[in-house]
């Protein structure tokens, strides 16, 4: 069953690879170098910026006596809830030639035209990097902060007893030990960056994801789109391997977590710089865009818009429910199989099913189209042969493809959540029911599933929320006239009319906040 989840990807890869060498050489001579260059450069910029933002803020929060630490601690996580394309749109609105900032500057200094002054252009690769990094740096912040907090406090004590100052201990012990965590976070950021579609599209930075979208929807050129998607997969594959290797190095966690170690005392000026840095991150990544959204909603929302939102919202909820329920059921099957089977290869289904998470929505969509479109044709041909009216594109042209793509992409989240819930159940609990005469079914329904209920619920919720936010897959795969909250907002952004969709955008952000709040609480509990 887990194979069914990856077969479309394999189909796409084989088609991508077998796409004639002519095609590839043609691409290579025309646009491919540009796409590759932009993809790589964007990746490098975003990773560098995110690591800088994330590591510095994590260090400040865990190792110094910065004021309002409690509030900053969780404020710095919130940007994760912001889709990058929203931030991109809002900042363009603010910093554009016609935006309030430049207008204000012009009226202050009496400038007449753009030739009178220099102002940075946000709709560039650099601008896209900053915007994406602003919403992705919390990955680095969170993982690094956790790494700092989990470090054995005796290590820092030892380094001090050997004569190092608090600051020296940080640079020579805490930071090097956090390196694997930073590497994991950086690869997560890279994966998300490679998967980003809407931001780069909006900023007209041509990279692989936008190229796939354009070649398929613009030119209906499936082989080329497949070839591009396969190249993107190669990037992702390298990132995943890096991430796995970094994870293997995470052995420094301790049972004596670093709760009350000595903090670096900041001088007044240092305190000021650190505060400005952290608050700027929180404001730029979440508070400012969210407040602006609220303003837009306040000013432009009408009852008609609200009524319009309802069917779109309903569509979003419908496919998100399907995706969440299917992913959770599958994850439950895979994880329980891994746990209870005695087969040597029992872990394989779950591992295979978890592969999809790294794959960008655009790539998954291409995989769905190349797999299900031919099947649809066969079905219709068969129908024609029996002189029955063909069902049309029942697989590739319905929400089936969207839901399937979501399950492929998000099953890993459900797998991870349920697997970690299962780890909390001692191994002996698998044996005890049988020793009391209960068979497999009774054991699962009376013991394991009730015990897993919280994890199952969280897994469902996490997939649901991710599915509510996902954009590229639904954009490429949705049936005609099928709009969800995210496609509607994307559409409005493309038409420079986000004001009309501010309510929907707020809804998406609020949905995104749920897992962050949950994450924060579960971390506090620990």
């Amino acid at each position: 069953m887990s194979l069914a989840l990856v077969i479309p990807m394999l189909v796409m890869l084989t088609e991508g690879v077998s796409a004639s060498t002519d095609l590839l050489s043609h691409l290579w001579q025309t646009v491919l170098p540009d796409y590759l260059y932009n993809t790589l450069l964007l990746g490098v910029f975003v990773v560098l910026l995110s690591v800088f933002f994330g590591v510095v803020s994590a260090a400040v929060i865990t190792h110094t006596n910065i004021v309002a630490k409690g509030m900053l601690r969780w404020l710095l996580m919130l940007p994760l809830a912001m889709p990058a394309y929203l931030v991109a749109y809002i900042y363009t609105d603010v910093f554009d030639y016609a935006g309030p900032v430049q207008r204000l500057l012009r009226s202050w200094f009496n400038w007449q035209s753009p030739t009178d002054y220099y102002f940075f252009d946000i709709r560039t690769l650099g601008g896209a990097s900053v915007v994406i990094a602003l919403v992705l740096f919390p990955y680095v912040y969170l993982l690094t902060r956790t790494a700092f907090e989990q470090q054995d406090q005796n290590l820092l004590r030892v380094s001090k007893s050997l004569g190092l100052s608090t600051k020296q201990s940080f640079y020579r012990i805490a930071l090097p030990l956090a390196r694997p965590a930073i590497a994991v976070a950086a690869s997560l950021v890279l994966m998300e960056t490679l998967a980003d579609f809407a931001t780069v599209q909006y900023f007209a930075v041509n990279n692989l994801t936008t190229a796939i979208y354009d070649t398929w929807l613009g030119y209906s050129d499936l082989p080329t789109a497949n070839a591009l998607a396969s190249i993107l997969m190669l990037f992702i594959f390298v990132t995943v391997v890096t991430e796995q290797r970094a994870r293997a190095g995470q052995v420094n966690q301790s049972s004596r977590p670093n709760k009350n170690h000595q903090l670096i005392k900041l001088s007044v000026s240092q305190q000021l710089i650190a505060s400005i840095f952290c608050w700027l991150l929180a404001i730029a990544g979440f508070i400012l865009p969210f407040v602006l959204l609220l303003f837009m909603a306040w000013e432009y929302s009408t009852v008609e818009q609200l009524q319009l939102l309802i069917p779109f919202g309903f569509n979003s909820v419908e496919i998100a429910c399907w995706a969440a329920s299917l992913s959770t059921v599958l994850a439950l099957l895979f994880t329980l199989f891994k746990r209870l089977s005695i087969d040597k290869l029992r872990a394989i289904p779950m591992q295979i099913a978890s592969l999809g998470y790294a794959v960008p929505g655009t790539v998954i969509s291409m995989a769905m189209i190349s797999t299900f479109a031919p099947i649809d044709h066969v079905i219709n041909d068969v129908a024609k042969f029996f002189a029955i009216k063909g069902p049309g594109l029942i697989l590739s042209g319905s929400i089936f493809a969207v839901v399937f793509a979501y399950v492929v992409r998000f099953c890993a989240i459900a797998n991870g959540t349920i697997a970690s819930g299962l780890e909390q159940i001692p191994k002996s609990t698998d044996f005890a029911p049988a020793s009391l005469g209960a068979g497999l079914w009774r054991m699962l329904t009376n013991i394991h599933i009730p015990l897993l209920k919280p994890s199952i619920w969280v897994a469902w919720l996490l997939v649901f929320i991710e599915a509510m936010k996902e954009l590229p897959a639904v954009l490429l795969l949705r049936p005609f006239n099928f709009e969800t909250l995210s496609t509607q907002i994307y559409q409005l952004i493309s038409d420079e009319m986000l004001e009309q969709g501010a309510l929907g955008a707020i809804l998406i952000v609020l949905f995104g906040l749920i897992p962050i709040i949950w994450l924060n609480q579960s971390k506090n509990k620990r």
Binding site: F431, A434, S435
Partner: protein, 365 residues
């Protein structure tokens, strides 16, 4: 009494590794067997194989009243009617004490369920706790719930995996006696696993010593201690100190503490046959280990010093010393010879020690 469990030449292979080799064992109804051995010797694997959680690769397992279980004819654990108490008790955390106990007897009539519950609650002194959840109970109470739950379906055989390892040392003795009494009252046949040899003497009727996936010796605890059949058994049960000896001619053995001469009486023959049994290559190897209990050595007044005091501690039996040999021959040197005395010697003091005549126990290491 009749045999309740019979294990014939059982072997278990896991991930290509032989964990149990040729294990044979039998147990009478109502008997309690203590399975001991160092960590990783296969005790828990044997228990899990009997329970049915692990499949045997070879051999036969016969539980009275059930068709023989072989690698081809398996019986699922839930159909074996063998109860098990797990090291961590494995109580279901989302069920109350009462529901935990009733879990295995859901198929019975309500009245019968009630009867058994009441009796077990009473027997295990769990009244007032029926509606509590496992995490609201102390370690000892949790263990009693685990026992009650395992006994409720009235299993033919009860398996206990290190049942006392999570119990406070001061409570342990008391609980062991209580539990033994309970099992005896119910005439329950039981196998329990431990790596603590002292528990066996309090709790078991029979002992089986395991080493590297094999059962080396079974029998009554006292007779196994009196007559261990191999170096591993004697060493695990810590029956004394080891000193190396070399066979000279005939019945003479040379040691760092002098010559040991065997008389040609019945007893020494038994010991020698012991050696033969555990050492197939007796013709080539002429060196053995002599097991020396503290009471079989004495200190003499001669100046022929052969040991030096290495370690002193105080016990209720006087001072406890470890001697190290002064022998120049490295073949015969030893590090730890245990000895008790009310006389105080100094650390580093040299002494002359000799071996008293007794039933010598020689082993091949």
């Amino acid at each position: 009494m009749t045999e309740l469990l019979n294990i014939n030449a059982l072997s278990v292979e896991l991930q290509g590794k032989l964990i149990l080799t040729d294990v044979s064992l039998s147990l009478l109804a109502g008997e309690i067997l203590g399975l001991v051995g160092p960590s990783g010797c296969g005790k828990t694997t044997l228990l899990n194989t009997i329970a049915g959680f692990i499949h045997q690769t070879k051999g036969e397992l016969i539980v009275r009243g059930m068709r023989p279980i072989t690698s081809k004819h398996r019986i699922a654990p839930e159909h074996r009617n063998i109860g098990m108490i797990f090291q961590d008790y494995a109580l279901f955390p989302h069920l109350t004490v009462e529901k935990n106990i009733l879990f295995g007897i859901g198929d019975l009539k309500n009245i019968e369920q009630k009867e058994r519950l009441t009796r077990l609650i009473q027997l295990l002194k769990l009244s007032d706790y029926e509606l509590r959840y496992p995490h609201e109970l102390s370690g000892g109470q949790q263990q009693r719930v685990a026992i009650a739950r395992a006994l409720a379906p009235q299993p033919k055989l009860l398996l206990l995996d290190e049942p006392f390892s999570n119990i406070d040392a001061r409570l342990r003795q008391e609980l062991m006696l209580e539990m033994r009494q309970l099992l005896k009252e119910l005439n329950m046949t039981a196998i329990f696993v431990t790596h603590n040899k002292d528990e066996v003497f309090t709790f078991a009727d029979q002992i089986a010593v395991m080493h590297q996936g094999r059962i080396l010796q079974t029998g009554k605890p006292a007779s196994v201690c009196h007559q261990p059949n191999s170096w591993q058994v004697a060493d695990f049960l810590q029956l004394g100190s080891w000193i190396p000896v070399k066979r000279n001619a005939g019945n003479e053995y040379e040691s760092a503490l002098g010559i040991v001469r065997l008389c040609n009486d019945e007893l020494s023959k038994v010991e020698l046959s012991n050696v033969q049994r555990c050492n197939q290559k007796i013709a080539t190897a002429f060196s053995y280990q002599l097991l020396l209990k503290p009471r079989f050595i004495e200190i003499n007044d001669s100046q022929n010093y052969n040991v030096v005091v290495e370690h002193i501690s105080i016990t209720e039996q006087g001072y406890h010393y470890f001697f190290k040999s002064l022998s120049s021959s490295s073949d015969l040197a030893f590090e730890h010879l245990s000895y008790y005395s009310h006389d105080l010697f100094e650390l580093g003091q040299s002494l002359a020690v000799n071996i008293k005549t007794h039933d010598f126990l020689f082993f091949d290491k």
